[in-house]
């Protein structure tokens, strides 16, 4: 008899598979939103491990997403030989394995980047860590802009749109499975001790640096997968799309959800993906005075106000402050 969380994951995957069979019935506009929500869930849940559970403020998550996006894009574009080798297995299987490999490459590349950034940076605390991660995110962006083989600032076109509902939500389910299982174990409580009191944690024999780097690397890995999914969804990526603003987007999800609450972050991801679409719809309503419509059109204006108001009124987010229940292993 399989253990409970594994059963839940399998169940979720089955449901997702079934849902993906019906995905052609949703209009393309809503299909896009659903996929975007899924990708944002992966980004938010993974960052929550670092910012929420481990209490390390990272402002460069979009950088790891971009590493994964470009890695996956390069793999599917240039490693077509692998696809050829897999061809005898039949169209569906070979493409699935090929894309699966691309995502693995994306995750590993981003994970390595996370390791390289994390090891030197994680000795810094609070504001300093935020700035350093921001800095690394910008450096990654500038490097990509200057590498012609990756398309530079002009961007990189991806030929095949392998991403579909199953892939996105299967990855989201796996991300949630990994984060929740990790945190709800005795070992995983270590992350929270680092957040609550690093000095006390060290005094309890916990290697805080190892936990911080682990959280950071794992989060980067999943951000990379999200990037790979994104690249084969929009089929076009450029460095500007992974800038500081994108990192702020993801951080906002974590904060709105309540740092340290995976359920909250999932909900926040849904809300924050739908919000700009809703704002766009709202700005097009005929009853709006012209100036208000323009104001709302730039989604950043209400968005930034939302951020400020959120911090002033409910900084713990939707589900923050709710005790993390002790789960049996």
């Amino acid at each position: 008899m399989l253990e409970r969380s594994k059963l839940t994951l399998l169940g979720a995957l089955v449901v997702i598979f079934a849902a993906s069979r019906f995905s052609s019935h949703i209009g393309p506009y809503y299909y896009d939103i659903v996929l975007s929500i899924g990708i944002n869930i992966i980004l938010g849940v993974s960052l929550n491990l670092v910012n929420g559970y481990t209490g390390q403020f990272s402002l460069g998550h979009a950088g790891f997403m971009s590493v994964g996006a470009y890695a996956a894009a390069c793999f599917t574009t240039y490693a077509t030989g692998v696809l050829a080798v897999l061809a005898p297995l039949g169209g569906f299987v070979s493409v699935s394995i090929f894309f699966g490999l691309a995502l693995c490459v994306a995750g590993m590349a981003a994970g390595v980047a996370g390791l390289l950034v994390g090891i030197p940076s994680l000795r810094l605390k609070g504001d300093y860590l935020a700035i350093v991660t921001l800095g690394f995110g910008e450096i990654i962006k500038v490097v990509i802009e200057n590498v012609d083989a990756l398309g530079g600032a002009r961007g990189f076109s991806v030929a095949s749109g392998y991403t579909n509902l199953f892939w996105v939500y299967a990855m989201a389910a796996i991300t949630i499975y990994v984060v929740l299982n990790l945190v709800n174990s005795t070992y995983g409580r270590g992350f929270i001790t680092v957040r609550d009191d690093e000095i006390a944690a060290e005094a309890m024999g916990i290697n805080t640096t190892k936990y911080k780097v682990l959280a950071f690397t794992l989060a980067a890995f999943f951000a990379g997968i999200a990037g790979g999914l994104y690249a084969h969804f929009k089929q076009f990526i450029n460095p500007e799309g992974f800038n500081f603003l994108k990192s702020v987007d993801i951080v906002t999800m974590v904060i709105l959800g309540g740092m340290g609450s995976t359920a909250g972050v999932v909900l926040a991801a849904i809300i924050l993906t739908i919000l700009p679409e809703w704002l766009r719809w709202f700005s097009e309503q005929p009853f709006l005075p012209h100036w208000l419509a323009h104001l709302v059109e730039n989604r950043m204006i209400p968005y930034s106000l939302l951020l400020i108001i959120l911090m002033l009124t409910r900084p713990q987010g939707l589900f923050g402050g709710v005790e993390l229940k002790r789960k049996k292993a």
């Binding site: 253990e3 969380s5 594994k6 990994v178 299982n181 990790l182 174990s185 005795t186 070992y187 995983g188 409580r189 270590g190 929270i192 001790t193 957040r195 609550d196 009191d197 000095i199 006390a200 944690a201 060290e202 005094a203 309890m204 024999g205 916990i206 290697n207 805080t208 682990l214 340290g260 005790e323 993390l324 002790r326 049996k328 292993a329």
Partner: protein, 266 residues
């Protein structure tokens, strides 16, 4: 390993911050299972010595040997793994966690099932988690915190929080435990309970204890041997009765009387 050799041996330890010598030429040993105390006026360097032993600070010179091996300047978590645990002057519990989880966290360093097991969730992990859970509960029960197991640790009374900190430190299975002003903020009844608690811990777990305390009744009441520091230097060492009547100690705490200063007969 000979029981005659000291468990903890500080030799000529000095630590300097910029121009200030916080601790100077400090010599002290603690034997296995011994209950020792460290006293001195405020700012004398007691917490600094704690921080030196636990790796928060690195000594500028001198050596710190634990079970014969150097621990000077090692990372705190490694020193805890060697067998030295501590509590803090300002209680440092894991505020967002329950009483139970605070203790459970201290078992981390003994875990044999790490990240991959947490993800895979095989039988081995389940067994270890069960074992950790029962040990943590047992520990909490012994110290009368069992009923509050699932409560947030911040809901405990001050005295109970201090007790929880001690329980948490014990969960790391130390050979030496450092208690930093555990009686601070307690009323006399609580202090008596604390004294019994410390003696109990020493006897039941055969642990050596180093106590920093301001309350003389507590220190003199339970410590087998006491060291006195003033301005970072050890000025006396011995049993409670010796320390009480030591003129240097009295001078450090009470200052010098005016006529003594003006050269009148001692």
């Amino acid at each position: 390993m000979s029981e005659q050799e000291p468990l903890l041996d500080l030799r000529d330890v000095t630590v300097q911050f910029g121009g200030l010598k916080a601790v100077s030429g400090f010599n002290f040993c603690i034997r296995h299972g011994e209950l020792t105390g460290l006293i001195g006026p405020n700012g004398a360097g007691k917490t600094t010595i704690f921080n030196l032993i636990t790796g928060v600070y690195r000594p500028t010179s001198g050596s710190i040997l634990f079970e014969g091996k150097s621990v000077a300047g090692k990372k705190p978590y490694l020193i805890t793994k060697r067998g030295i645990a501590r509590t803090f002057q300002n209680i440092r519990l894991f505020a967002s966690m329950s009483v139970f989880d605070n203790v459970r966290a201290a078992f981390n360093m003994h875990l044999r099932h790490g990240i991959s097991h947490a993800l895979w969730r095989g039988k081995g992990l389940a067994a270890e988690e069960k074992r950790v859970e029962s040990e943590a509960r047992e520990l909490l029960d012994i110290f009368h915190l069992g009923k509050a197991c699932d409560a947030p640790c911040t809901s405990l009374s001050y005295g109970d929080q201090r007790r929880l900190e001690i329980v948490r430190a014990l969960a790391t299975r130390p050979k030496l435990i450092l208690l930093d002003e555990p009686a601070a903020g307690m009323n006399p009844t609580e202090k008596t309970d604390l004294m019994e608690l410390i003696r109990f811990v020493q006897e039941k777990y055969q642990i050596a204890v180093l106590l920093v305390e301001h309350d003389m009744r507590v220190v003199m009441g339970i410590c087998q041997r006491i060291a006195v520091v003033d301005y970072g230097v050890k000025i006396a060492e011995g049993a409670a009765s010796e320390i009480k009547s030591n003129p240097a100690v009295i001078r450090a705490y009470l200052g010098v009387a005016e006529d003594e200063e003006n050269g009148a007969a001692a």
